[in-house]
């Protein structure tokens, strides 16, 4: 009987091989080949990787901005999750719904809504003008769109729910008796938080960090719309090679591959570190 049920896994294994494994292998194959401009024949080469040094600053900028966005998300998201979990069930439910709600509009709509706010002649600059701030600083406008700050803002705005949801769901499930035990053993509330709540919420933090960092580091729509093309990021670089102005899918595949490897390494290291913490708490 067991065998019959395991047959259900077969189509899925085939599907995954076809739509997950094979595409990545093809991408790797593209990354290690290039078209010779003269003979028009493809050849195996590592030149896509050796040429990548030029883009070091793009790599650094992407990782730096994504890190910044992740940090801001954490600094806002953790207190929100923590305080939300302390509220009554109805408050929690409404708050959760409100956090999820914007996700059902497409993220591009959410990014677009910021464009008209941050423009040089946009709503925020109009507001500054109305309250006399611009006259005070003796400038015509405050430059917001097209700066790295706008890109980070866009990331935080779009991905904040991805930080709140996992942290909240871990904190809300914390065993209340553990906290009582800690208090009974003489810990003050700061110590309870630092020694019990925070370590126990690490798994939520880790998955929140992953869920914010990965889309941030690879975004191209946000940097395109809010960065005004000035803040070229890894995603833009990849898009340029495939659907943008500089057609070279081999280089694009190579950049994607490097990004994938770096992200996976980061995740593995972080999860390893996270597991260690968890075990320490258990002990």
């Amino acid at each position: 009987m067991k065998n019959k049920r395991s047959l259900f896994a077969v189509p899925y294994v085939i599907w995954m091989a076809l739509f997950v494994v094979v595409p990545i292998l093809i991408m790797v194959a593209y990354a290690f080949t290039a078209i010779d401009p003269v003979t028009n024949a493809s050849q195996i080469t590592a030149e896509n990787f050796t040429r990548m040094g030029v883009y070091l600053s793009v790599f650094l900028r992407s990782f730096w901005l994504a890190l910044l966005a992740t940090l801001v998300c954490f600094l806002i998201g953790y207190p929100v999750s923590y305080w939300m979990a302390k509220e009554g069930p109805r408050f929690q439910r409404v708050a959760m719904a409100l956090i999820m709600l914007p996700m059902w509009m497409n993220f591009l709509l959410r990014t677009y809504s910021w464009m008209s706010i941050l423009e040089n002649n946009g709503l925020l600059n109009q507001l500054f003008r109305a309250v006399g701030l611009l006259d005070l600083l003796a400038v015509d406008h405050i430059q917001m769109i097209g700066t790295s700050g706008a890109v980070v803002l866009g990331m935080v705005y779009n991905y904040l729910p991805f930080m709140i949801l996992p942290i909240y769901s871990v904190i809300v499930k914390l065993d209340g008796s553990l906290l009582e035990a800690a208090r009974d053993l003489g810990a003050d509330s700061a110590r309870v938080f630092l020694k019990v709540i925070f370590p126990l919420s690490l798994p939520g933090i880790l998955s929140g960090v992953t869920m914010v960092f990965v889309p941030s580091v690879s975004t191209f729509a946000i940097s395109n719309l809010l960065g005004g093309g000035n803040q070229l990021m890894l995603g833009d670089l990849i898009e340029l090679q495939f659907l943008g102005g500089a057609y070279n899918p081999h280089l694009g595949a190579a950049i994607s591959m490097v990004m994938m490897v770096i992200v996976v390494v980061c995740m593995v290291v972080m999860n390893h570190f996270g597991e260690g913490e968890e075990q320490a708490v258990m002990l």
Binding site: V22, I26, Y112, G229, G245
Partner: protein
Amino acid sequence: MRKQNRVGSRLFIGLVFLFLYLPIFLLIVFSFNAGDSSAVWKGFSLDWYVSLFQNRLIMESLYTTLLVSLLATAIATVAGTFAAIGLYSLSRRKRDALLVVNDIPMMNADIVTGVSLCLFFVAFFQGWGAFATWFNGIQGLVELPTRLTLGFTTMLLAHIAFDIPYVILNVAPKLRQMDKNLVDAAQDLGCTWMQAFWKVILPEIKPGIVSGALIAFTMSIDDFVISYFTAGSSTSTLAMRIYSMTKKRITPEVNAVSTLLFLSVLILLVANNVREIRQERRAVHQEVHEPSRLERLSLRFSQPSWQWARRAVAGAMACVFIVVVMLLTGATSSQPVVNVCSWGEYIDEDLITQFEDATGIRVNYQTAESNEALYSLLKSGGADYDVIVPSDYMISQLIEEGMLEELDYSRIPNYSLIDERFKDLPFDPENRYTVPYTWGTLGLIYNANMVEEEPDSWSALYDSRNAGNVLLINNSRDALAAALIHLGHSVNTTDEAEIRQAYELIADANRRGVFQGKVMDQVFQKMEGGNAAIAAYYAGDFLSMLDNQAEDVDLRFVIPEEGSNWFVDAMCVLKDAPHYDEAMQWIDFIASTEANLANMDYIWYASPNREALEQYPAYYQELYGEELDPELYEIMAVPADVLERCEMYTVLPPATRALYNSLWIELGV
């Protein structure tokens, strides 16, 4: 003490919600704006909602979005549930190994998933093409299509591929929690395996399935990147449509559609919350006794008819859904179609409707951002266009690479109306591939209220006095051309030193912070709204900006004294175009004098049609009851002496193109 704490925390949560919702609130407010600005309030109106429902491009993309999300969710939920059940009957080690693979699409960045799937589909299509040609060759019974392209199906497959892991992730824990003996017990009691599945497993894991489906739907509807890489050219989701609109001008119709989406989700959520709260109240009042697993199991067995009725209703609804989907897709596929790709806002959209009414051919109208982006799209196998409208130098390149089909001029009688000036041009010396669509010049657009002195040289683009207010045109060819002309070189030079000198001029200005950004069609909203002072762009687009400029903006146009570039955009048909006959009809229709007049009036680019060009001032006077400003007409239809100062692009050799590409990316780095 505690109370105070709560006030503080609630204030913080409230501020975060304000941050999350204020932009959405503004989006909604400006959907009711009488003007078309998303920053200046001009009074209340519902006009944008009316025009939204008439905007076919947005409505079609909305429909595509909903259809792909619903279909992908339905298929992924069923497939994912069975896969999870299958996985849980495997040995632990095998299961864990498979779950790692399952995690890949969720861990990977969207763009990596999108890129790898895109490459996979293209590789498959190439293999399929070879196979189908061979197969059609050895037998004559079945004719297999040899040319497959990215489209709705590939996008749906991609959505299913990234939805399934989320369903498994949600169903798996429920399977783990389920008491394995329950299934055995049911079967010992005489159930077949199927009955055990319907009556035992499914109810146990139902919460997991529901939340899995919900997350799959959320991911699908929120997705942009993976669709963008796998949908090809002829299918657009709402997000893709908006992305291409942000490159031109976003109309408040987008605000209107956002508002409708937001409100419908809000209503669903509120209804759901109210229902849950009611249920909770009832539960509190009645103090229901929570039945044990076995009791629930027996309950389920005792109410077979009820269960069957519900299942029948669900089945019937699914059938209706499938039939509707099939009808809709069938209805669109049986009608003759022509796939057209042009630039943003480069046609009077009424012409599309007129053509459709006259011929019964549906026009699938898409836009690309630039010649280079169009080339990438064609090369990556994503495009199944019939008619494209590239510029001169790109046409040469496409002809060189054998990507264009010769036209059947006997079926394009209106070709005779094209002025002789626009025939026998270097890009198509024998007039075999092209019918000119528009022509024009590149020049400087500036806001007279934002510059210290009125520019008459390209040097204004690199002048520190305009720092932060210059828009650099976001394609290597035009940007470098302006610099080359300023330095006194030919726009078609292949001398690397000259090109590098021109690049250095731009790069130096970039380092000095002269450029506000690199834009293509975003130039419209930037210049019209007074957000930037100066930009190099096309004459026709300057004229459309005039209609939309804000009150404190005074836009002007000049062809710099060093000279400039002049260009011809022409209609061509791609090699092996699936709708060649329809394409001929479309080209002939667009080449007619009436269509050219309507287009000239709408897009303000000069027409190559002799009659239309001559008649336009009279046409304008008749239409608007006032005389066309001769200065504007000269900007549109540049007089011969000015045109003499301008040089046309020719195709560059591959090595020079590669240099352009790498320099251009270096600039962004």
